[in-house]
Amino acid sequence: MNLARDLLDKQLVDRNGRKAGKVDGIVLKIQEGRPRIAYLEVGWPVLARRLGKRPARWSDGLLRHWNGGIRTRLPWERIESVGRDIHLDIDSEKSTLLTVERWLRRQIVRRMPGGNHGKK
């Protein structure tokens, strides 16, 4: 598998078909002398690191302030399939994948007119 072409920056889809971000980073480990995928990383701190040292330092500080520095990591075992999208065997609503989404939903959208509504 060509990691950059087939994995990196691809859309993640959870077990309920919901979009859950993109593969922002890949972490490898050495097992039996060969490189293997340990886990996929998702989140804005990971993206910041790809942009350069200063954005990385800045976002690491922000992340520590936000949740103590916990990054979202997806173990390779939880990946169901790799195709047009990467399918996960995870419910994204119950994982850290949607932390920012849930926070915005609670703190901002719910408080706006019609934010809490039934049908459109």
Partner: protein
């Protein structure tokens, strides 16, 4: 039968989205200053956008990807930030111009300064997105957008000389004010080839779940819709050429432009001008706000879609909310909508290589399009037009800034 209806709707949608403040202002300026001479610029821009819209529909139908998502996948996040930022900034300026245009239309009808209307108009645009569905917005705006046909009616009643108009369809060198001529040509290209048009179109194709069976429909909609839009732009140019040019009116204020409909249509012309301006601008404001949200959501992998509830897609909904806030702010602080429009159109032309270059590469990528990659005609027309627009923009924008 359903396909036929969809085609008709698609064409109507394209028309509604095509004629907005940028096209109206640049075409009117062209007519008021240079008569029929710049008709070729509108036609060239129209041709290029027909190819681009068809490409974006084909891309989404075959690859099942939206353009921003594919751009990030193919080029990596770091490279993707460049078109992301460029498109974001230019789109925000265009959004400000559209909201400003709608406010000016209300100023026509009420006499109250456009700045006062910034917040109500911004709120209207936001509410339509927050509470509306994609289908409702698309269809509603398109049907209302048909009022812009009034420009064609007005132009017809002025009896333009067809030989003279045809002469303008070929590029000619200006006899006076060359810098101005080429700057307006650039603005026309920027107004016609607005990236938001086909980013929006590609998202619509995904939301409507297009597949290979829609390729013919796509070609039809792109060609007819955009052609009709260009036709209306030419009608605006004709109206300006026959009403404003002989009176020596250079459009420094919007109300001068309204004359082009008042001469052929009397008092109704004024009302219809304001209505057409308002509807066209609201429609474009909706599309541009959504486009900004689409590019962010699709680039970062968030849930997106006009048919979902805001709380199901908090990041997407808040993206267009913040965009609309920013656009409203631009109008609120009193930036002249006319200047903002012209500037943002020229800036669009300048940004075309960054906004469209990556897309063009994708259109020739076997991994996304297999056997449906671009032919030589699509590639050639788009590359040449964008190159020309960019070079002209680089030369004329500094001259225009220095001159004013």
């Amino acid at each position: 039968m359903k396909k036929l209806f969809e085609i008709a709707l698609g064409i109507v949608t394209s028309v509604g989205g095509f004629l907005e403040i940028g096209s109206i202002v640049t075409a009117a300026q062209a007519g008021a200053l240079f008569g029929f001479q710049l008709t070729w610029a509108i036609l060239l821009g129209g041709l290029c956008v027909i190819f681009l819209v068809e490409m974006s529909g084909r891309f989404s139908a075959i690859s099942k990807h939206t353009i921003p998502a594919a751009m990030r996948e193919r080029f990596g996040f770091t490279m993707f930030t460049i078109p992301l930022v460029v498109i974001g900034v230019v789109s925000l300026l265009v959004l400000g111009a559209e909201i400003g245009g709608a406010c000016v239309a209300i100023e026509f009808l009420t006499g109250i300064s456009f700045q006062v209307w910034a917040i109500p108009v911004g709120l209207l645009v936001w509410l339509l997105l927050w509470r509306g569905t994609f289908g409702l917005i698309e269809k509603g705006v398109s049907l209302l957008g048909l009022v812009t046909v009034v420009f064609a009616v007005g132009a017809y009643k002025l009896h333009p000389s067809l030989p003279a108009l045809s002469a303008g369809m070929l590029p000619t060198l200006p006899r006076h004010d060359a810098a101005r001529y080429w700057f307006i040509a650039v603005s026309i290209l920027g107004a016609s080839i607005s990236p938001y048009l086909f980013y929006f179109y590609s998202s619509g194709a995904i939301e409507d779940k297009w597949n290979e069976g829609y390729l013919a429909t796509n070609r039809f909609v792109a060609a007819l819709g955009m052609s009709f839009g260009s036709f209306l732009s030419v009608a605006v140019l004709v109206g300006a050429a026959l009403v404003l040019l002989p009176r020596g009116i250079r459009i420094d204020h919007y109300d001068q432009a309204a004359l082009m409909l008042m001469v052929p249509l009397g008092r109704w012309g004024f009302l219809l001008f304001a209505a057409a301006l308002f509807i066209a601008c609201i429609g474009a404001a909706l599309e541009v706000s959504l486009e900004i949200a689409y590019v962010l959501a699709q680039g970062f992998g968030w849930t997106w879609g006009e048919d979902k509830m805001p709380r199901e897609e908090a990041r997407f909904s808040l993206s267009y909310t913040v965009a609309i806030l920013a656009g409203t702010l631009l109008v609120l602080i009193g930036i002249d909508p006319l200047k903002l429009t012209i500037f943002s159109m020229a800036l669009t032309a300048l940004s075309l290589p960054v906004a469209i270059g990556p897309f063009l590469i994708l259109m020739n990528d076997k991994r996304y399009l297999q056997t449906h990659r671009n032919g030589w005609a699509s590639n050639t027309v788009v590359v040449l037009t964008i190159a020309m627009a960019f070079v002209l923009a680089v030369v004329t924008i500094p001259l225009e800034i220095l001159g004013s």
